[in-house]
């Protein structure tokens, strides 16, 4: 539905017309002239995505691209996995049992070595610093996969880290409607709860304030509806209809069943324990609950701050983070598989860049975008394989060099989205969802 159903294209240039269309609540879904766009706006039921975002940039050499026979390899040992010949860190034992679902890309080579710029590059697939504010991956994918009428938000970000570059985490030209609903991640939230118990996670403002009863809320809404209809009767414009739609959706989302999706206390302690008690583990559990209820895109970040930014004392830090990663991620995959959901859920594990294969004077590793690793898993991905190869010292890509565009396009394709589909930006210019060729070998 276009928001301004004037239908009067006479005297309106194509540019103006395109721009007006992009303002609409539902974008261009009912436009018969642009079939690709119309198709893109149809929700694709049953597809889900999980982004496991690793702020700071994890060391590939200590996780998925070990160099056990080289001085750069560091102190960790390589361990066998459920896939013969595929080996990775000894500190990821549960993931090792899921290896048949994992596809490792060891030949990722990018050009941004700064946290803010690297985050923007990896999360939007675009060079930072340009005039256009591109949407972050979750905003774009959830727009394609999501049902605008859904009670759950289409894009939920759990425990988002510090926005080193707000643009990398925002909806860009799509506008705040496609911004993630954020869960937890408030200041002072410890990644691992100090005492017994689990990290607390919740959606901001999803429930009524304590002083307002459900009955009172119903009465408020009754009055609200009468005020809305009077206003809209004489002033039904794009903005007023959008306001009405969004507020009604928010009220729907406050219903018990939607709220329950975020309530981890409904899970048995043994299950909560299996995921790990910290924000990442509990976030992965919440991701499972959300996916079970149809959420198209869930993002879970690991740690507080730039946890993986191990310039100092790399090894103890990576060991601790690996334990959280292993429990949360592996349990999520297992539980999704138990429910028959893993084949429709595409998972991407990545940070903003990798880390130097060489170890610095502080037993740390520094930023390194030239040759690093990310991992795809689950739905649409041909698991149990490695793509690309780095040199023995890990300093260079020797085979199968790919960039951010290839990775993100592969991810989209695996989730059933054509990355070449164009979205009309707020400035009236169409952009493909992702630029870059999907890596065919990795697609199931």
């Amino acid at each position: 539905m276009m928001n301004d159903p004037s239908g009067a294209f006479g005297g309106v240039s194509r540019r103006q017309w395109l721009r007006r269309m992009s303002v609409g609540v539902l974008g261009a879904s009912a436009c018969p002239w642009l079939p690709a766009l119309a198709a893109a706006a149809q929700p694709k039921p049953g597809k889900h995505c999980v982004l496991l975002w690793m702020p700071g940039g994890p060391a590939q050499t200590d996780t998925f691209d070990m160099k056990p026979n080289h001085a750069n390899g560091g102190e960790f040992k390589e361990a066998a996995t459920s896939v013969p010949g595929l080996r990775f860190s000894e500190h990821l034992p549960q993931l090792a049992q899921q290896a048949e679902h994992l596809a490792l890309i060891r030949s990722l080579s990018t050009k941004e070595g700064d946290h803010g710029r690297g985050s923007y590059l990896m999360r939007t697939g675009r060079q930072p610093g340009g005039p256009v504010r591109f949407p972050t991956l979750g905003s774009m994918v959830s727009k394609e996969l999501g049902d605008p009428q859904s009670r759950l938000p289409n894009y939920i970000s759990i425990n988002p880290g510090p926005a080193v570059n707000a643009a990398a985490f925002g909806p860009g030209y799509l506008g705040p409607r496609y911004a993630p609903a954020t869960v937890g991640g408030g200041a002072g939230q410890n990644a691992v709860p100090a005492a017994d118990g689990f990290a607390e996670l919740g959606v901001d403002n999803l429930t009524l304030p304590k002083n307002v009863s459900a009955e009172q809320h119903q009465k408020r809404l009754e009055m609200w509806r009468s005020l809305q209809s009077r206003f809209l009767a004489s002033r039904s414009s794009g903005n007023s209809r959008a306001q009405n739609t969004m507020f009604r959706r928010a009220v729907r989302m406050m219903h018990d069943d939607a709220v329950a999706a975020f309530d981890l206390s409904q899970e048995p302690d043994a299950v909560r324990e299996a995921y790990g008690r910290g924000t990442f583990g509990q976030g992965c559990l919440m991701a499972r609950r959300l996916i079970e209820r149809g959420a198209p895109f869930v993002e879970v970040s690991l740690g507080t701050g730039l946890g993986w930014d191990t310039h100092l004392n790399n090894f103890p830090t990576v060991k601790t983070l690996s334990a959280q990663l292993d429990a949360g991620w592996a349990t999520l995959m297992r539980e999704l598989a138990d429910r028959g959901l893993l084949e429709s859920t595409t998972i991407l594990w990545m940070g903003e860049f990798g880390r130097t294969p060489t170890i610095n004077g502080n037993a740390g590793r520094d930023h390194f975008p030239a040759a690093w690793t990310c991992v795809l898993a689950g739905g649409g991905i041909a698991g149990g394989q490695v793509f690309g190869r780095t040199s023995d010292d890990g300093a260079a890509v020797e085979d199968g060099k790919v960039d951010e565009g290839n990775v993100l396009a592969t991810f989209c394709r695996a989730a059933g989205i054509d990355p070449a589909v164009e979205i009309i930006s707020s400035i009236g210019r169409p952009f493909p969802i992702m630029e870059g060729e999907p890596i065919a070998n990795l697609l199931a």
């Binding site: 301004d4 159903p5 004037s6 005297g11 309106v12 540019r15 103006q16 721009r19 007006r20 303002v23 610093g129 340009g130 005039p131 504010r133 938000p153 926005a163 643009a167 909806p171 506008g175 705040p176 409607r177 496609y178 911004a179 609903a181 901001d204 403002n205 999803l206 429930t207 009524l208 304030p209 002083n211 307002v212 009172q216 009465k219 408020r220 809404l221 009055m223 609200w224 009468s226 005020l227 809305q228 009077r230 206003f231 809209l232 004489s234 002033r235 414009s237 903005n239 007023s240 959008a242 306001q243 969004m246 507020f247 959706r249 928010a250 989302m253 406050m254 707020s426 400035i427 009236g428």
Partner: protein
């Protein structure tokens, strides 16, 4: 000793007559904390009162009956003849387009509609109840004109303009860790708008900012890391309406901009360095050397103005100074239409050329002749931005209703007032105004309520830094915050809402209370049907306590409704 009576209470003949006493630094009647007629409406928070500039008279401290009386003096000012001519011209041109499109315009806006709109557009917040009552009761034929004059001369105007321009100039999220720098930009802009500095001077002063103890606008430079290409792209876009950044890497596909032109303009920003004498004290220093080269080549590009001219040999001084002189010169044909286009968008929600910062032959916009005439008018007025806004706001077009029977015409016809979304700041300040949030709660860092932690949190969660009034951009997190977040919740709780407390005054009838809630949120009286419905709702509750809460429920419904969260 000031002996006066609380004229409001006297006029309303409800309280008898009270002699004003000095309480705090204001004259109030002794019932001021209780009496709705006073505490609610004259002695409480006024964004306009903050950071008051001495030479500016606040329009809000008056106890006069009409605002029109004191501004009659301004009717005959030197600009009145050309202004009247321009106003008529604007309305004629727009009407001609309506005729051609066979689109009848909306009826004129009623007083409530006009008042609320003018307050939001020119001061960034809705009017308080006493102003609404006074304005609606005012019988003066020129009261709208007088109101616009008063608003444009108010400190709130300068604050609002500073906020608008700060958001245009600075990238999103700068407040985190940069609060002093952001305050520097805000306060500097505020001073310029309060003094109504010529707009061409404002731009050229900005371009030679040096920072130092008084940070001023230097954050504009440091936020862009002093990168010549970023400064070039941003200054061209913001002040000249030129989208030249594509030419950074290649010749522009839609207009005449060549890569060489881009780097020639960028070269003006090539000789710049920042020094830091102490943390937070950044100084911008112009250097004698520094050059830009076209990427991946060794071609050094000499400074060149956007019109293709080069600085003259004898034009010495730092490169930034050369550029700032050109900016304010008559050679610069880009600046006036870009400024006019922004002013138009501020009031109408839709610019004469959209997007607002992409002007040129490739994108002539809806009314090229009008843009041209307004640009000349703006130049002849001495780049008087305030006068430009005054002129536009006095048109019949600006004062059209936003109601429209039948299919709404496309926005670029301006045949009906666009129903605009509110910026995060407008929304927060309007809730605070409607609720009578006490000033000491609103005030925060730097003694500036603009940076109170609550406001800051609200604004950052709204994520509307690229706010466009033509789009309702709020997403699910933002809407949930409006429905259940602390700002609106505090406003609708009897314990925390100044307005709800004031409504407890025992001499008020329930219909009067409902009426006041409507005036506070909507700047209009309730319809009879609304009055009955909401009075009945409150009457359903038993006991004073639950009736108090029921009033809060009514207020919540008002504050979350389209009529409140939109500017119409």
């Amino acid at each position: 000793m000031k002996i006066s009576r609380c004229y409001r209470s006297a006029r309303r003949a409800q309280l008898g007559i009270y002699t004003l006493q000095r309480i705090g630094n204001r004259w109030r009647c002794p019932l001021f904390t209780l009496c709705i007629l006073c505490s609610a409406f004259s002695g409480n928070i006024e964004a306009e009162d903050i950071a008051k500039t001495p030479q500016i008279e606040s329009p809000n401290t008056e106890t006069r009956n009409t605002v029109a009386q004191d501004t009659d003096a301004h009717v005959g000012d030197a600009r009145s003849a050309p202004r009247a001519e321009m106003i008529a011209r604007i309305d004629d041109i727009l009407a001609e387009h309506w005729r051609q499109a066979k689109t009848p315009p909306s009826p004129p806006a009623d007083d409530s509609e006009f008042l609320r709109r003018a307050y939001l557009d020119l001061t960034g917040s809705i009017p308080k109840v006493s102003r609404v009552r006074a304005f609606l009761a005012d019988k003066h034929p020129r009261k709208r004109q007088a109101l616009l004059d008063a608003l444009l001369r108010s400190p709130a105007y300068a604050t609002h303009m500073a906020t608008l321009w700060r958001n245009i100039m600075l990238p999103a999220g700068m407040e985190n860790g940069n609060i002093q720098g952001v305050l520097g930009v805000q306060n500097w802009l505020r001073r310029q708008f309060a003094a109504n500095l010529r707009y061409d001077r404002l731009v050229s002063d900005l371009l030679v900012a040096t920072g130092g103890d008084d940070a001023g606008p230097s954050l504009f430079y440091t936020a862009l890391e002093l990168k010549p290409e970023e400064l070039a792209a941003n200054t061209a876009r913001i002040f000249l309406g030129l989208q030249i950044q594509c030419a950074q890497c290649h010749d522009h596909p839609f207009n005449h901009w060549k890569q060489h032109d881009f780097w020639g303009y960028a070269a003006f920003f090539a000789q710049l360095e920042q020094t830091q004498s102490s943390p937070g004290n950044t100084r911008l220093v112009d250097l004698e050397s520094g050059a830009v080269t076209i990427p991946e080549t060794a071609t050094v590009v000499a400074p060149q103005f956007p019109d293709g001219q080069s600085p003259l040999e004898d034009e010495g001084g730092p490169r930034r100074t050369q550029l700032s002189l050109w900016m304010a010169s008559r050679e610069n044909h880009y600046l006036p239409p870009a400024a006019v286009n922004r002013a138009w968008k501020q009031l109408f929600g839709w610019a004469l050329v959209e997007p607002v910062d992409d002007l040129g032959e490739h994108n002539p916009g809806s009314h090229p002749e009008l843009l041209q005439e307004l640009s000349s008018y703006f130049v002849q007025s001495g780049f008087d931005y305030q006068e430009l806004l005054r002129t536009l706001a006095n048109t019949k077009a600006y004062q059209l209703s936003s109601r429209y029977d039948g299919e709404r015409p496309p926005p670029e016809l301006f045949a009906t007032m666009m129903i605009k979304s509110l910026s995060a700041e407008q929304l927060y300040d309007s809730v605070a105004r409607a609720t009578l949030t006490p000033r000491n709660i609103a005030a925060g860092m730097g003694n500036s309520p603009a940076f109170s932690p609550q406001r800051q949190e609200f604004v950052s969660q709204m994520q509307l830094r690229n706010w466009n009034p033509a789009e309702f951009q709020a997403g699910m997190p933002q809407v949930l915050m409006l429905l259940n977040g602390r700002t609106v919740n505090a406003a609708s709780l009897p314990e925390t809402s100044g307005l709800l407390k004031a409504l407890e005054a025992p001499w008020l009838s329930e219909p009067q209370r409902v009426e006041t809630l409507f005036l506070a949120a909507y700047a209009r009286f309730p319809t009879d049907e609304e009055r009955q419905r909401f009075v009945a709702y409150i009457a359903e509750s038993e006991g004073a306590k639950s009736r108090r809460r029921a009033r809060g429920d009514v207020f919540w419904a008002l504050l979350t409704s389209a009529e409140f969260v939109l500017n119409h």
